[in-house]
């Protein structure tokens, strides 16, 4: 009767920011990004992409609790970069990778349907 709506798991409530950024107060070039209504799908690809960046000293994510529908991505970089720059770069690189993957799959699909 008082069960929350199922869509609360993946729809960002009004007035809540999708991504919020919080600088680390003690370590320079370290920050946490709180991403609302996302899970391991986004968290893990971001983390792995960040690990490919040599300016990233640490990148990790956590899903604090299964009933809190958010992830926290923590990034620590060298002085050559910044958490925000590394984050943006990771998102851009993943986006381009998926573009490439889509083209590769469509090309294979065209090749495959021609053979029949």
């Amino acid at each position: 009767m008082n069960a929350p709506d199922r869509y609360e798991r993946f729809v960002v409530p009004e007035g809540v920011k999708k991504v919020s950024y919080e600088r680390d107060t003690k370590i320079i070039n370290a920050a946490s990004f709180t991403v609302e209504r996302e899970d391991h799908t986004i968290g893990n690809i971001l983390r792995m992409q960040l690990h490919r960046d040599p300016d990233v000293l640490f990148a990790g994510y956590k899903l604090p609790h299964p009933l809190q529908y958010k992830i926290i991505v923590r990034i620590h970089t060298t002085s050559q970069s910044s958490p925000m720059q590394a984050y943006n770069q990771a998102v851009n690189d993943l986006d381009k990778e998926l573009d490439h993957l889509k083209n590769a799959f469509e090309a294979e699909l065209a090749k495959h349907s021609r053979e029949y």
Partner: protein, 319 residues
């Protein structure tokens, strides 16, 4: 300041393709991308499924909610789903979920008039949209052919029993309710790299070589009686069960066979419920994943807020 790109360029090779089945190789990427694709295919690619049922008459043996639940689970052809609206953010009907942009209406009327049991099936569901109808397994290429195809049975009626209802189908995703998942199964495995040390194999007796080849529960190896060697016939049949590794140890030749999963190569199997084609399911999953990435980009005001904070910080440090 723009950083250097660390983008990858994945490659794809399709091995087998049917309407509701696809098998392909994905290379030059990592497990996080493979797993994200798998997760999106199962839980975030939208389809259309019955979500609201108004029962007018139901004198069947099944109660109303039982029938409503069954109707929800019927796969509907969902090519339209990607361009449809979710009813919760449809402004044409104020989230009522009753307009043509976000819903499809179905009617079902059935009554048994004689002593023969009447099967009420998905063929009795009348759709308001010819592109959104119950999946018909008869015309798929899956070899599910059945000359007397009668659809999926919903309920059986005896003489005098009747079922009359109106149903609204809406767009949704598997994360909301599994009835919206377009995927029957989506799996991927690492491609194994199997090395057999022939010098060590020489030290084994013939019967030990045969028993080594037979120690794998799946047919990965074969014993070649001409060369007296153990050969790999099907590396992908390996289920990472470690049986041959243990056998090597028990034969006192540890390391004779070494198996390494190739960390950047995956073999995907995708089975669809029939709501969308397996190939389309993969393409839609890539699109959805791209949309999700786009949604997690930093907004202008977040960047600005930090710039100000940065200046303030620099000012404070400077002062």
């Amino acid at each position: 300041m723009e950083g250097a790109s660390h983008q990858r360029f994945p490659t794809v090779k399709i091995r087998e393709l049917k309407d509701d089945y696809a098998k392909f190789e994905l290379r030059d990427t990592d497990a996080s991308i493979a797993n994200a694709l798998r997760r999106v295919m199962i839980a975030e690619v939208p389809t259309i499924a019955i979500d609201l049922v108004e029962i007018e008459v139901n004198s069947s043996v099944l109660n109303d909610e039982f029938i409503a639940h069954r109707l929800g689970l019927i796969p509907l052809t969902s090519e339209r789903a990607m361009s449809m609206r979710f009813s919760r953010d449809c402004d044409a009907c104020d989230g009522d979920g009753q307009c043509e942009y976000c819903s499809v209406e179905f009617h079902l009327r059935a009554k048994c008039l004689n002593d023969q049991t009447l099967d009420v099936t998905t063929r009795d569901l009348m759709s308001s949209d010819p592109s959104v109808v119950p999946v018909d397994f008869a015309d798929s290429s899956s070899g599910f052919d059945n000359p007397e195809n009668r659809g999926i049975i919903i309920v059986k009626l005896r003489r005098g029993q009747e079922l009359r209802l109106r149903a609204i189908a809406r767009k949704g995703i598997g994360k909301d309710h599994a009835k919206w998942s377009p995927a029957a199964t989506v799996t991927f495995m690492y491609e194994p790299e199997i090395h057999i040390n022939d010098d060590m194999l020489e030290t084994l007796a013939i019967e030990d070589r045969i028993s080594l080849a037979e120690s794998s529960p799946t047919k990965v190896y074969d014993y070649d009686p001409i060369t007296n060697r153990v050969v790999v016939v099907d590396p992908e049949a390996y289920t990472y069960d470690d049986e041959v590794i243990k056998k090597c140890e028990s034969l006192k030749v540890p390391g004779l066979i070494e198996i390494h999963p190739k960390e950047d190569s995956f073999i995907f199997t995708v089975e669809s419920t029939g709501a969308i084609k397996a190939s389309q399911l993969v393409l839609n999953a890539i699109d959805i994943l791209k949309q999700k990435l786009d949604a997690v980009r930093l907004s202008e005001d977040t960047v600005e807020a930090d710039d100000q904070f940065g200046e303030l910080g620099a000012h404070m440090r400077g002062g």
